[in-house]
Amino acid sequence: MTESITGSVLITVLFSIRSSAQILSPSRVKISVVIHFHFTPTLCPITAHLPSMAESSKKRRRTNTDDLPFKNKLKPDSTILQTLKDFSTSSSSSSSSSKTLTLQDLSLPFSCREVSDLSLSSVQSNIESLVLRIAHSILSGNGFAFDVPSRAATNQFYVPELDRIVLKDKSSLRPFANISTVRKSAITARILQLVHQLCIKGIHVTKRDLFYTDVKLFQDQIQSDTVLDDVSCMLGCTRSSLNVVAAEKGVVVGRLIFSDNGDMIDCTKMGMGGKAIPPNIDRVGDMQSDALFILLVEKDAAYMRLAEDRFYNRFPCIIVTAKGQPDVATRLFLKKMKMELNLPVLALVDSDPYGLKILSVYGCGSKNMSYDSANLTTPDIKWLGVRPSDLDKYKIPEQCRLPMTEQDIKTGKDMLEEDFVKKNPGWVEELTLMVKTKQKAEIQALSTFGFQYLSEVYLPLKLQQKDWL
């Protein structure tokens, strides 16, 4: 009984804030404390009242949506919520019981290279000892060379036990006095110097900043970015410990509160666009949430739809997107959420090989950054949709499906050979179906039944049926 009272108290507070035109920051802090207080002990109380919460906007939105296909199959939201709750608790208990494996736990037949977060001072001293070695080598008339770990595809290895890609320890010499490596070794030296400066000053810059410090030498940003990855691999630290970050790309919205550089952020009150995921994850902390799951969205468009419809209020969740291929920050953020909040992750991606590829990058890492896969990958992501089998199940009309190009089919077939797909029989089945039908569809194909079909019918139905793989 007391629980429900606390819930309603909270809701009124939320409402008053939303209606007030001006939000003063002290009150915001106060509110977040209240939320904190009520949310942490239990996840259930709010949910029972959520439908009523969205009632005001309900009139506007649900005018004539009853004729949407499959709408009649939907059970009341409370039933769906109950299933979700069961799922959430079961998944959190299962993941908490099994301790996460590390590379050291496995005895692999070859040695692997993994990096770790290093403090600024140790990065600095690493660079300094490297530079000293080079200086000695130059002065003794031997030129110099960098020993750079290879990040080629042949040096990558998928470890099924860890469910991610790891880097083997092959490396290649990058001598200065060689026509094919002279450019790269000069760039490497320059990047080392720049990072060294960052360490001394203790500031962060973006990759773009780094590139613009010596455009003439780097020529284009891809070159400086590649070498930056080489450097972090060479020094044995994560890219974030080099104090170089990428521009903000990912956004998050929904039932999440966290602190960014000391400021408390409430992601339910970030407007439609949501909160940009901060590039350096070390600023982020104090995550709290009453969500039942994390919804990973491939595309900005679908994300906007869900954010505008306040999907997270109907079914408490956190919605994240990296607008295409995920950047490092988004992956780190997702990993952190998963670890701290212990929530299941459901993914909504396009029904094409690239959608699955993006899923795989979240799940087991990209080849480019495999040296840091331990920090970047989020295990156990469920493929919610849009899956190839959904095309027929939801009777998506022909004109909204696209024929796969030869390149698509090839990518699809190649992916069938990948270990991360093979480990999940359900995925293999879906991908085989896609390659067989030679049809793909974007998330937006669902808009053919109305723009809100995604948030009104498709996702609730999917959740109700626990239709994820």
Partner: protein
Amino acid sequence: MDSSESPTETKKTKSKTPRKNKETVLKQKSPAEFFAENKNIAGFDNPGKSLYTTVRELVENSLDSAESISELPVVEITIEEIKKSKFNSMIGLIDCERVDAELYDDYETEKAREKRLAKEARAQEIQAKNAALGKKVKETPASKGIRGRGEASFYRVICKDNGKGMPHDDILNMFGRVLSGTKYGLKQTRGKFGLGAKMALIWSKMSTGLPIEISSSMRNQSYMSFCRLDIDIHKNIPHVHVHEKRENKERWRGAEIQVVIEGNWTTYRSKILHYMRQMAVITPYAQFLFKFVSDAPEKNVTIRFSRRTDVMPPVPLETKHHPSSVDLLLIKRLIAETSKQNLLQFLQHEFVNISKSHAERLIGEMGPDFSPKMALKSLTPQQLVRIHQLFRQAKFDDPNGHCLSPAGEYNLRLGIIKELHPDMVATYSGSAQVFEGHPFIVEAGVSIGGKNVKQGLNIFRFANRIPLLFEQGADVVTRTALKRINWSSYKINQLQDKIGIFVSIVSTKIPFKGTGKEYIGDDITEIASAVKYSIKQCCVQLKSKIVKKMQAREQQERKRNLSKYIPDATGAVYNVLKDMAETQLHASKKFRYGDDDGELLRKVYENLITKETLSEKLAKHVEQVDYEMALEYATQSGVSEEPRETIYIKPLETENKIIDLHSPFFVFRMFH
């Protein structure tokens, strides 16, 4: 231009027939009539293309004729422009002045003239403005008056060769009867249907009404045949004006054909010249003289494509049919034509790749009512069907390519070098392969650089040693070169390099697509893969050359390229050292670094080691490495960079006074 003129032509011919056809009357059409109405089948779509096709057919006939007697071809082709007045006088028509100007299509109304003048004034204004701004002035084409439909241009096409000539009595049918020819057998030929020269005649009859003139003389013939004829289109028979034997004092042998047709030189000039050039590439053993003569001397063109070799490909042999390529009708015809009496002999002798024992086995397989000795005449239609079925199902050895006569790798290479002067060229000649029972051979050449070659891919296609110029986009060679070859893997830049691709396909039957015989479809996997393989082989050869060249260049530029980055590298290293030295001093943490490192940092701090010191040391290292690598390169590839060629210089006169200076190691010979 093409499309604007052809519809009016066809409309004229069509509009006549339906009006007369009030009730349906069964009519027969002669082959000549059919082709007159469907000229486009033979490449006579419009006056311009007709001129091109006429030149082409005559040249190809000449080459065939010379090659058939193993004579190195000499072909002279002349196109003479004939002015309207001259043409009228030729046909005996008096020039008429226009009386009622408005009656004509090209009459310019007052309104149109105003419009045109305004447009011209505007153009001039723009040009003046551009000139004032110092922009490059594009030459605007001199404004021509409107060219009316009636303003046709006429050309006399003369083709003279040193070929076999024609028997006096056969000339009439060879030119005056459509679908009669000497090239109907199963062998690789340029022409095929017996259409070419006759179509030129039909076209001349349609457009000018003037007859064709043929002079010909054969070997050991004391006279020269002269013939002037046209064709009776409705009966498909020659209509002879003159057919006589004339004196042949110079013992000239060959043929000369003159025909006057309507054409369009301005629009098809480049096509015709391209054709001649490509023909010269694929037949470097022939000599061509191409002339264009008109009243305006600045428009005249004379090009000589000289002979570069006297090695000629062998004359293609006539071959027998392959069992898997025959159809029912062909079997019937072969039976009618054969001299063999019984089935066994027929199978054994009228087809390739059926030996006697094989034939016996086949007959056994045909069924109980067949026997080796049964007479051919007694075969029922059902039995023929059975033979046909078996031919389709049974397995036969592939026909070999002996009956084919490819241009040859040597000739192809010579032709490319002769006409394009490329920097590099590679050629490849594939072995014979089979498509539907017809053998084919693909030869390819790839060249890089050269004069008059555009950047990017320049594709030259040949089928049975004739160039194909039209409908390039859908052709198997174009598709292969554009889509299935990864040029960059051969160190070739598809967009920047001047790439010439030459593919010659010869076969007893070229699977042309479309009516115009202008391209080979991309849907035949056998040919597509053979083309791809041949081009790839050329590229592999080129790659090693290109890589060598790049290495040589790299060799020259290595030191410069390495030195270029010295300031960047040493600057970066030095700056880190400097920062370290400074912080070390401030923090006075002397024991943070080892002895060597501490010493180094101290020197940096005291400016004993500067950026220049580092640069100097690194430069020295680069120099040393460069020297070592140059030495290595030299030992590998020899000292000289270009391969040396042996040159022999003949003494000017055989009786030269010489003085020999002897030394233990050499003799020094001096010529006076």
